[in-house]
């Protein structure tokens, strides 16, 4: 009986420990991001890696989501004779919710995992110790360029995703289901507010921070060789995805 309570307690202790560690590393990343030297080259390299190289994944994910969303809503809305609102529904859902969350999760799988594996390997092969021994702060050299790249590039990916999702929805509704193109276009933008775009962009920046920092922190605290690197990679993806989904709810509530 005691062991059950002990285990529950341990789970909570670990949770609090990890949360504390995450915020501590966030603070250290912030502090080191304003200290010279600024590794502009590294920042750009990471931006290309996070942003440019993720375009194909974002393209496919958001476009098909827009398409399937239009398909399903059209069928549903048709039953209540509200086909005219399909465009609005697709645009609102993409901008506020689907594009940021899907892009966040996809980039977590692509980038969060690779950052955890990369930094984790550096840890187990003593390259992190070597950085320190060469009088270089690992948080500044490794974390800062990656986290900045996440915060800067995710909004661009999400805006791209918005456009592709709306475009995909248009294609399905107009070309496949025979909706009127002009009416669909008008309806798409009729109820949109600039706030909806901002909501998505703010979410994107936040998710960019979460997925890169989680990847870096998990990699940085890797122990136990190749197996440990594998564990860190999995943990990075799982915890970043969970944090993104939790944060998404609270951000949506705040930014209504």
């Amino acid at each position: 009986m005691t062991s059950v309570f002990e285990n529950i307690g341990l789970v909570f202790i670990r949770l609090f420990e990890q949360t504390g560690l995450w915020f501590r590393m966030l603070w250290r990343t912030m502090v080191w991001s304003v200290r010279p030297p600024f590794e502009i080259d590294a920042w750009f390299r990471q931006m290309v890696r996070v942003g440019v190289e993720s375009v194909p994944v974002v393209f496919l994910t958001t476009m098909f989501t827009g398409m399937v969303f239009a398909l399903e809503t059209y069928t549903g809305f048709h039953r209540v004779h509200a086909e005219n609102y399909v465009g609005s529904a697709v645009a609102l859902a993409m901008l506020r919710e689907l594009s940021p969350v899907l892009v966040g999760l996809m980039v977590t799988g692509r980038i969060g995992s690779s950052m955890a594996a990369e930094i984790g390997t550096m840890r187990v092969t003593e390259q992190i110790d070597a950085l320190k021994a060469l009088a270089t702060e690992p948080v500044q050299y490794l974390f800062v360029p990656r986290v900045i790249a996440g915060i800067v590039m995710l909004p661009f990916l999400v805006i791209l995703g918005d456009a592709l999702g709306i475009g995909g929805g248009y294609l399905v509704a107009v070309k496949l289901l025979g909706a009127n193109g002009v009416i669909y276009q008008n309806n798409t933008f009729q109820f949109l507010q600039i706030k909806d775009l901002w909501t998505g962009v703010i979410k994107a920046g936040t998710f960019g921070l979460i997925l890169t920092l989680t990847g870096c922190v998990r990699g940085y605290y890797t122990t136990g060789g190749a197996e440990g690197v594998g564990r860190s990679t999995t943990q990075a993806v799982v915890s970043a995805s969970l944090i993104i989904l939790l944060t998404d709810f609270f951000l949506s509530k705040m930014l209504l």
Partner: protein, 255 residues
């Protein structure tokens, strides 16, 4: 040189360290003097690497103090600690080269970050460092293309590229064949005399230890059980030291 000459530049005082709840260092005290070559020997898991990491501030003691050049390493802020670490060069066990960079970039890394040298000066300095470790034409190779011995030598070159006063060698010959081990030992001796720095090495290879040391210290159970010149060390009557030198399976070490 006489090991008792020279001022103390690293002083480890009564250090206790626990890792994962287990004691690794217990009341460890040892001094390193200016210009000497100290070799710390001991079996696997006796805390040799941990001792070395305390000296450069990669680990902090749970109890006790580590003074380097008179400064207590525990109480330095991150930026001060980084400035302090420029006094050190550390060569890691497997080299710990950055595998995202080639050999040239690895050695140039500290030069680019901590000096105002021009690209031309950096190129010259990197070539000098590689010559010092007898390597030629490997600048554009990736660490993964090098053999174990070469990786270590590049690691040495990177460690002393800033001309540090103190060089630390973590198991410089472990996993190398006896010939390459001897080459590496010669190299350390050579660096010791030409760079005129203080070196601390850890190893369990007694042949290498006797070759490069001015003073040998044996670490057992987290503290120093014996130290002296290589000659004194070889004459020691301490059963722990005798068993280790002679490499016997029976004795106090294995009880």
């Amino acid at each position: 040189m006489n090991p008792n000459d020279g001022e103390v530049i690293i002083s480890v005082q009564h250090v206790d360290k626990f890792l994962g709840g287990k004691p690794v260092l217990r009341d460890l005290s040892i001094d390193v003097r200016q210009g000497e070559s100290l070799v710390i020997v001991g079996g696997s898991g006796q805390g040799k690497s941990v001792t070395l990491k305390h000296m450069i501030g990669l680990m902090q003691p749970d109890e006790g103090h580590v003074y380097v050049l008179g400064e207590d390493m525990c109480c330095l802020e991150a930026r001060e600690l980084n400035r302090f670490r420029q006094h050190f060069g550390m060569a890691f066990q497997e080299g710990a080269l950055f595998d995202s960079m080639n050999v040239f970039e690895n050695i140039a890394f500290p030069l680019r970050r901590h000096t105002e040298m021009t690209e031309e000066q950096i190129r010259t300095r990197v070539r000098e460092c590689l010559e010092q470790v007898h390597l030629h034409g490997v600048e554009t190779k990736r660490p993964s293309e090098l053999s174990g011995g070469m990786r270590r030598r590049v690691g040495f070159a990177r460690a002393f590229s800033l001309r540090p006063e103190i060089l630390l060698f973590d198991e410089p010959t472990t996993g190398l064949d006896p010939v390459i081990s001897d080459v590496i030992a010669d190299l350390i001796l050579e660096m010791d005399s030409t760079l005129n720095s203080t070196t601390v090495s850890i190893t369990h290879d007694m042949k290498v230890a006797f070759k490069i040391a001015d003073r040998v210290a044996m670490l057992y159970n987290g503290h120093i059980v014996e130290q002296g010149t290589p000659y004194e060390f070889q004459q020691s009557s301490n059963p722990i030291v005798r068993q280790f030198i002679e490499g016997r399976a029976e004795g106090p070490l294995t009880e």
